[in-house]
Amino acid sequence: MTLIIVADPRARTVFDVRGMVVLVTGGSRGIGRAIVRELSEAGAEVAVHYRKEADRARSLVTEAAARGSAARAFEADLRDPPAAGRLVSEVMAWRGRLDGLVTSAGVFRGDALPEIDRASWDAVMSVDLEGSFRTIQAAVPHLSLSPRASIVTVSSVLASHPAVGGSPYQAAKAGMEQMTRALALELAPKIRVNSVAPGFIRTDMNRDAHSDPEFSHKVARATPLGRWGEPEDVAPIVRYLLSSDASWVTGAVVAVDGGIPLR
């Protein structure tokens, strides 16, 4: 018997995430939703975390099922610190392992300094910074058992390039970026930790901004690539960072912002 091996021209670097079990927080809407779709379409088994949009989270699960991919929706209020641990336990009960984590759950408040009371500070910090931290902390013991463990945090261009209003949000995202680097060191070489920093992306979170024609136009003009970003623009880099093609990348923060800080 002769075995003939033919080089398959279709065998390519495709940032393979097939079979990876990935938890995406804030997966029902916005950037998280696009990430869930990208990963699920590429063959990952995605745990879709949501806080209140159960229907939207479930619609992603239905989509995945139609493609024959495993996915499941998980409810958790990450403003409550113990919720992250429960969320991760439920995901572990679902699939029994975890290979990737994307912390995309976030809250934006553009408040000016005098308006920032305890509640508005907590609304941002509890999710954007501590919620991400607690989720990572709960996930790490499970991720460390995976041969291809990877964490991607979702930051913001506002972490490194300031804007007027929403200083707690900007501080939280800057904190998240440095947490990403610190954990990249602490968890190496077992678990890679990277961040993506989106610019102005059209999502529910900033509907006020992009539905205001004047401001919307201003953003498009200020962005060298000449337009707002879409959630789908951010998802591919997350897939790259989760895949083994990025197995030598850790502690990196990748801007997906159409070049806006260049201006």
Binding site: G199, G226, I237, W248
Partner: protein
């Protein structure tokens, strides 16, 4: 399978493609579907080996002898590819040299050679290719180094030239937006001919490896995968960015405070 990352139908030009990271980028872009032409300065045997490696993967790539540090040669190279393929969508400035090491300032000629290869060459490449790239929403990728981002005491001249590339990326990205995206990759210590001498001494090799949090030297393929990503439609909203591919080297303290 999603097509986000396919480079089918794109024509790519890679300088310094016969060896090391450039060679891996040639092979990876080609495997991703691009029609690749690469240039090499003088090592025809290495260039032939790259062509052969592509052939073994069922792909065909073209090699052209051309000095990536010589502006008029770069212009001819770009025109040649454009004539041959009918279009040009991706350029990668892969050619680079280390130059004087240690405290050695080198001769003025050596300095000039480093600047010409590592800075002027990439600028000339993007400048010459820009009109063609703009026609079809193309992109340029410059190969920088973490030595351009952090102190590199043994390679100060090289480091300075790579820092200049960071400025080049930002300036070119802004100048050529929105039609052309310009990004860089900053690799850390990668197993190539360029680092062969450093790796030959086991003590130095180990010392460097200790400062790489992921615990290993990079493979040229690690950098090439990043190039495939940046060249593709998945990076359509990324410009002016430097993607660090270094095993975490950049964020690690050299004195080992993290251990």
């Amino acid at each position: 399978m999603t097509d986000t990352f396919s480079l089918d139908g794109r024509a790519a030009l890679v300088t310094g493609g016969s060896r090391g990271i450039g060679r891996a980028i040639v092979l990876a872009l080609s495997k991703a579907g691009a029609e690749v032409t690469f240039s090499y300065r003088e090592n025809a045997a290495a260039a032939q080996s790259t062509v052969q490696a592509a052939r073994e993967a069922g792909r065909s790539v073209d090699a052209v002898a051309s000095d990536a540090a010589d502006e008029s040669a770069v212009v001819r190279l770009v025109e040649g590819v454009r004539r041959e393929r009918g279009h040009l969508d991706i350029v990668v400035a892969g050619a680079g040299i280390v130059g004087p090491v240690g405290w050695d300032m080198g001769t003025p000629d050596e300095w000039q050679r480093v600047v010409a290869t590592n800075v002027e060459g990439p600028y000339a490449l993007v400048r010459a290719a820009a009109p063609a790239l703009a026609e079809r929403g193309g992109c340029a990728i410059l190969i920088s180094s973490i030595a351009g981002l952090i102190a590199a005491p043994e390679e100060i001249v090289y480091s300075a030239s790579k820092s200049a590339l960071s400025a080049l990326v930002r300036g070119l990205a802004l100048t050529l937006a929105p039609d052309v995206r310009v990004n860089a990759i900053a690799p850390g210590w990668v197993e190539t001919d360029m680092t062969k001498e450093v790796r030959a001494d086991p003590r130095t090799e180990r010392a460097i490896r200790r400062y790489i949090p992921l615990g290993r030297w990079g493979h040229p393929e690690d950098v090439a995968a990043a190039a495939v990503f940046l060249a593709g439609n998945g990076a359509r909203f990324i410009t002016g960015e430097t993607l660090v591919v270094d095993g975490g080297n950049q964020i690690a303290w050299r004195i080992g405070l993290e251990r």
